[in-house]
Amino acid sequence: MSTTLSEAESRRLVSEHGVAVSRFVTGETTEAILDALEADESVTYPVAAKLCGRQIAHKSERGLLRLQINDPQSLRTACDELLAAAEPSDGAVELLVSSMVEGSRELICGLHKDPQFGLTVMLGIGGVLAEAVRDVAFRLAPITEADAEEMTDDLKSQRLLGEFRGEPALRRQDLTDVLMALCSLGAAHPEVLSVDLNPLIIADGRPVAVDALVEVAQ
């Protein structure tokens, strides 16, 4: 049996191990969110707002995600709507508001416990398109820096990793660091069955996770 951590818990866990995640605040009510945002100057508009909970794994498919919110008034409306969309089966829920991360390229990174080979680490092209594109590289955790660099080299869509539409090239060392961080998370938490960083947006050359989902054994 397994369960998933909420997005906020997942973000904190991956962040503790060194993965860059977009700045965020959480709160159970609209007022709490607006207060938190006021208090934390690092979270800046435009923002994204989501309804999170351990029972909610795939927010976008249920419309529990609002993007590109530019001011407090619009944020208030979005938060009210998201709270109203919660269903009893969702259990405890909270709002998560994060700075929007600008970048036209999305990657996916994660951990997965394979029945035959044990814990594996993955890098892929795609974000929401990842399962259609299937440009992925796996390795068995833990990995060395050389392994991590080769994972990046393995991706077929190398052009997406260079300079692209006015954006700088991916800083490959930063991506290596993300993969190493995931492996150290896996080693420190044997109860972890899977991790998704999806998408991992390449923002100004740096990979930043704007969503995280950690699945743990119960």
Partner: protein, 495 residues
């Protein structure tokens, strides 16, 4: 998952299996369709260097050899290996009798074990327990045999034997051993050892690979694998072996298994093949798409130096082949570099101005007697070139063949020109090998004549020298790509 310490595990000594002083063959009868007969026949036909002790129920001679009534009649200390073709119910006692005579290895060709259901599983378990207790290394059961060219040994219930060379084969499918040995015959690139792992009851793929890694007769291992028992341990062992010697691997059943139902996107992307492929890359295992590609990669690794980078120059006698070779490099690690300026200047001195003056080096028919060997040497020896692809071997003998078979031969000076053409191709083939050796730069050779007219002097010279002649530029490119990937894996780890 039980994790065995991989660093402290001693490599199993398989010398009694691959280089036995003598072999006992059980189940020998006069019926030429029976396994015992076939194995005896193949041992004799390949000229096995050790002693052979046929054992069977019928007294008398088979293939001119006296058949002993039981293993008890075998003189002690003269046989290291027993080849078992008798049914499961007899074989445990037989192992004990063989061990008493000094036997340390068994190849069990007999079927009726794990593959045959619950009784077979029990029989297999107790057979392995007996072997372990007796200190016998046990190959099979349900395998097709073992080949070892340093001992001229063909202990198989199938064919063929193989030319001698440096490729060691282990396969979870016996038929693929035969396929790969047939490819060795076609190419002339030979085999050191080959074994069909059968049910791999005691000795598994990794046990063989670890022994091959220490075997001075082996330069590269070639594996056909369908299943992995303990993935993590297999990974650690493959990685350790790869650091010593290259492993080329083909996985059967690669495309059938999908991803497990998963809560995560990562899990949904984790197909068995994606994870297996990543494991291979991490372990430095050279994964080929099919047995043909695997054999050619292994043959190239066994006969060529490892490239130190990915900069490739193509040398060809005519244009189209070079273009196709460069096309085949798209999507690979290989870089068909612009021809270095100093090379261009040097080649200008050797060829009339119509040559391509770039990479591919298309001689455009301007070559004279020594041009091809000179250009190969010059290119392979250049510090900015990591590998050379030579196309066009055999074109002159092709012309010669038509003249030789035509109505005017040997008059009208035809004998002289035919001899010249054929000598030239022989020289080119020899030059490609010699240049690779002298410059430590791989020189891969490709011509479709390797398949279409293998007995013409170009391909025939390569084959006789045990050198790989690829049947197309695309296939040579694929081998070179796999070699470059492996070279990178090694250098990234300081090996």
């Amino acid at each position: 998952m039980t994790r065995r310490p991989t660093s402290s595990r001693p490599t199993r000594d398989l010398s009694a299996l691959f280089d036995p002083r003598g072999v006992i063959v059980t189940g020998v009868s006069s019926h030429p369709g029976k396994f015992g007969f076939v194995c005896l026949h193949n041992l004799l036909a390949a000229g096995y260097r050790g002693e052979i002790f046929p054992v069977g129920r019928e007294p008398g001679e088979v293939l001119g050899r006296e058949v002993l009534g039981s293993i008890d009649e075998v003189p002690a200390g003269r046989a290291d290996m027993v080849f078992v073709c008798t049914p499961p119910s007899l074989n445990e006692d037989l192992l004990r009798a063989a061990a008493a005579k000094g036997v340390r290895a068994a190849f069990i060709a007999a079927a009726g074990y794990r593959e045959a259901g619950p009784d077979g599983i029990d029989a297999e378990r107790s057979l392995v327990a007996a072997a372990d207790e007796l200190g016998i290394v046990l190959a099979g059961p349900n395998g097709q045999g073992v080949v070892s060219t340093p001992s001229s040994m063909c202990a198989q219930i199938v064919a063929p034997y193989a030319p001698a060379g440096n490729i060691a084969v282990v396969s979870q499918s016996g038929n693929f051993v035969s396929s790969l040995l047939n490819m060795a015959h076609l190419s002339g690139v030979g085999i050191s050892r080959a074994v069909s792992a059968g049910n791999a009851a005691q000795l598994g793929v990794a046990d063989y690979l670890e022994w091959f890694a220490q075997d001075p007769e082996t330069a590269v291992s070639l594996v056909y694998m369908e299943s992995v028992d303990d993935g993590r341990v297999m990974f650690e062992r493959l990685r350790a072996v790869s650091s010593a010697k290259p492993i080329v691997l083909v996985k059967g059943g690669a495309s059938t298994a999908g991803a497990q139902a998963a809560a995560s996107h990562t899990g949904a992307l984790a197909t068995d093949d994606a994870v297996f492929d990543g494991m291979c890359r991490q372990a430095g295992v050279i994964r080929a798409r099919d047995p043909e590609e695997a054999f050619e990669a292994a043959a190239s690794l066994a006969t060529q130096p490892l490239p130190s980078g990915n900069r490739v120059v193509v040398v060809t006698t005519v244009g189209g082949w070079g273009v196709a070779a460069v096309d085949a490099m798209a999507g690979t690690l290989l870089d068909p570099i612009p021809l270095p300026e100093d090379l261009r200047t040097e080649i200008d001195k050797l060829l009339p101005p119509r040559w391509s003056r770039g990479n591919p080096i298309d001689m455009a028919g301007g070559e004279t007697r020594d041009t091809v060997p000179e250009i190969l040497e010059m290119v392979a020896g250049h510090s900015e070139v990591d590998a050379v692809l030579f196309l066009g071997l055999g074109i002159q003998s092709n012309v010669a063949a038509m003249m030789r078979g035509g109505p005017f031969f040997p008059d009208h000076s035809l004998r002289r020109i035919v001899d010249f053409h054929e000598t030239q191709d022989t020289r080119y083939a020899q030059a490609a090998t010699a240049v690779a050796e002298r410059t430590s730069t791989p020189v891969l050779v490709a011509t479709e004549l390797a398949n279409t007219r293998p007995d013409t002097p170009g391909p025939a010279t390569m084959r006789a020298a045990g050198q790989m002649c690829h049947a197309s530029a695309g296939r040579a490119v694929r081998s070179l790509d796999l070699m470059v990937r492996h070279a990178r894996w090694r250098s990234a780890r300081g090996i």
